[in-house]
């Protein structure tokens, strides 16, 4: 009998087994920016901290911690490697999709677990701007356009979820998101899950 296939790719498995850049020395780490997201009650929480090379405007170091499942662990581990040396702007614009690609794909139902890392990273970058009197650079989460064709932002999606959308189809009905080229479907679906979890995780 063949070994039953692991639901995750080898990369996910490898990062899960040997997670990189875990924040072990939290008190002495002296981060330049910090992001915390998720909620233990909903079964996941994420902390991402960064150090910034101020001359170059790049991320010099990135560490993290989580109360989360295998996908959260693996995706944040990958993310922490990807962003080192990356320009702050580029790091900010990384999407769950980019991380997912790096991981070689997650099972669909686990994708929602993987969006925590990049969200916490964006918060950490914003936090760095605030700490260094660069408030003007702080990007609001809701400013991110997710659907290029229809010009729909994540804030609008969040709003639709709050208004009762529970499926991609319902989101399309309410916002027209994803009715152009359709390329955004995966990311929108991820956002949908994130917002459902954020707002409707039953506790």
């Amino acid at each position: 009998m063949t070994q039953a296939s692991w639901a995750y790719t080898d990369t996910v498995k490898e990062h899960f087994m040997n997670p990189r850049n875990i924040l072990m020395d939290e008190d002495s780490y002296k981060e330049h920016g910090k992001g915390v997201t998720g909620n233990v009650k909903c079964g996941d929480e994420m902390i991402v901290v960064i150090k910034v090379d101020k001359e170059k405007g790049t991320i010099a170091d990135c560490k993290w911690k989580t109360f989360g499942c295998a996908s959260a662990i693996a995706s944040t581990s990958v993310l922490s490697e990807m962003v080192k040396g990356m320009k702050l702007d580029d790091a900010y614009n990384l999407s769950a999709k980019d991380i997912n690609r790096e991981l070689g794909g997650l099972p669909d139902h686990k994708v929602h677990c993987s969006v925590l890392g990049d969200k916490a990273l964006r918060m950490a970058i914003n936090d760095y701007y605030v700490r260094n009197e660069m408030e003007e650079k702080v990007k609001k989460e809701e400013e991110r356009v997710v659907c290029k064709c229809m010009n729909i932002t994540d804030q609008e999606i969040e709003h639709a979820v709050l208004e009762g959308a529970r499926t991609f189809y319902e989101l399309q009905e309410m916002t027209k998101v994803g009715t152009g080229c359709g390329e955004c479907e995966q990311e929108v679906t991820q956002l949908l899950e994130t917002y459902k979890t954020k707002h409707f995780c039953e506790v």
Binding site: K13, F16, M24, V40, K41, T66
Partner: protein, 396 residues
């Protein structure tokens, strides 16, 4: 044949007993339809009825009171769905039943069937459980009225192993003139169960939780209990469940039960020893753990434990990589983030529900395996806690 590893997830399902396997392979060629009058049919009929007798005698019923079903889930659904029967001749209909009582910690097949009844206009009331997962007999007394037609409370819980006072519950239910069903899928074959002693009207059991085949269950229907078939269209099972019998499954279930009757006593003792060793090992080697479930009224094979600051699915997968199979109540692994409804019902915080694992032992587990588990688990929990946002907080 079987994947290598240590299997400690016997509440999910159990490995087939070698004797059951032998008998099933031996009877594989028996293809006759038990309803046929010719010799092929008669042979099949005989073995089906022998199995029925074994099942009946194991739980103290008579053979006519045993109905085979396609699964434990089907047996449970059969009992619950009958409540809304609109046929004039149906006892429920005659009584004008519009209320049932169940508990908050039932298996999804009972909870979802209850929800469906609610949508069909039945009032569904839920018994709460205490911190150990026990329902309260006082609350049951309070909830029961003359409108109550059916009460369904599981005998032993699949996630935390807590065993209910079924006899006490049945007595109260009957005082009020209602009918009592218990889902004993996790109990039969693990602890002694006698339907006469307990005085239940319906009882569900399932083959694959007692080293028998999957896809076969049985429902005990007390003589005279109000019954309405879920599946119609044939005279099989005394008209209670249409469909040509799953002969091989029934024979396997019969053999599994026969083996249980021989092994249940010694198994129970051995499992209790293994579980005690495991519990002690965990307590001594891992700080900040919480055992969920009743300390004594608990299935001998089940240990549910919550590790503060460690997320359940991560624990399961790390253990899987170490060759140990256990499971979690938090359903993240199955696509939802909802924490275990059972652990939440005990009043423990959601973090506990997200961080708990269920270790359920079986007849094949050995003390060596327990030792391996005790060696492995602290490492896994330590690793997860090192990267945990929650555990960090606690240490500060």
């Amino acid at each position: 044949m079987s994947p290598k590893g240590i299997y400690m997830d016997n509440n999910a399902t159990t490995p087939i007993h070698p004797e059951v396997k032998r008998v099933m392979i031996e009877t594989m060629d028996l293809f006759g339809n038990p309803s046929s009058l010719h010799v092929f049919g008669r042979q099949a009929r005989q073995l089906v009825e022998e199995a029925r007798e074994k099942v009946a005698s194991f739980i103290g019923a008579s053979p006519e009171e045993i109905m085979f079903a396609g699964s434990g889930s089907e047996a449970n659904n059969t009992v619950l769905s009958a409540v809304t029967c609109q046929r004039k001749q149906c006892a429920y209909h005659q009584q004008g039943v519009n209320e049932i009582i169940t508990s908050t910690i039932e298996h999804p097949c009972v909870l979802e069937a209850s929800k469906c009844l609610q949508e069909r206009g039945v009032n569904v009331l839920y018994l709460d459980v205490d911190q150990y997962g026990k329902v309260s007999l006082e609350q049951l007394r309070d909830l029961l009225t003359e409108r109550t037609g059916l009460v369904s409370v599981m005998m032993a819980n699949n996630e935390i192993g807590t065993i209910q006072d079924i006899k006490g519950i049945a007595e109260i239910v009957h005082e009020r003139g209602a009918v009592f069903h218990t889902d004993a899928v996790q109990a039969v074959g693990r602890i002694p169960v006698n339907v006469r002693e307990l005085d239940v009207d319906f009882l569900t059991l399932s083959g694959h939780k007692m080293y028998g085949p999957k896809g076969i269950g049985a429902l005990y229907v007390k003589k005279g209990a109000p019954f309405c078939p879920l599946i119609r269209g044939g005279h099989q099972e005394r008209g209670r469940r249409a469909g040509t019998e799953n002969t091989l499954g029934i024979i396997g279930l019969g053999k599994a039960i026969e083996m249980r009757s021989q092994e249940i006593k010694s198994d129970e003792k051995r499992l209790l020893e293994l579980k005690a060793a495991l519990k002690k090992g965990i307590e001594e080697n891992i700080p900040d753990v919480l055992f969920v479930g009743h300390p004594t009224d608990c299935l001998p094979n089940t240990l549910n434990v919550s590790f503060e600051g460690a997320e359940g699915e991560a624990i399961i997968l790390y253990l899987d990589l170490e060759g140990i199979a256990v499971s979690t109540g938090s359903a993240c692994a199955t696509g939802s983030l909802d924490p275990s409804h059972v652990i939440l019902a005990t009043g423990l915080p959601a973090e506990c529900a997200h961080g708990s694992i269920r270790i359920s032992l079986g007849r094949e587990n050995t003390m060596e395996e327990i030792t391996y588990m005790i060696d492995t688990l602290p490492r896994v929990i330590g690793k997860i806690r090192d990267m945990s946002t929650v555990y960090r907080r606690r240490l500060q």
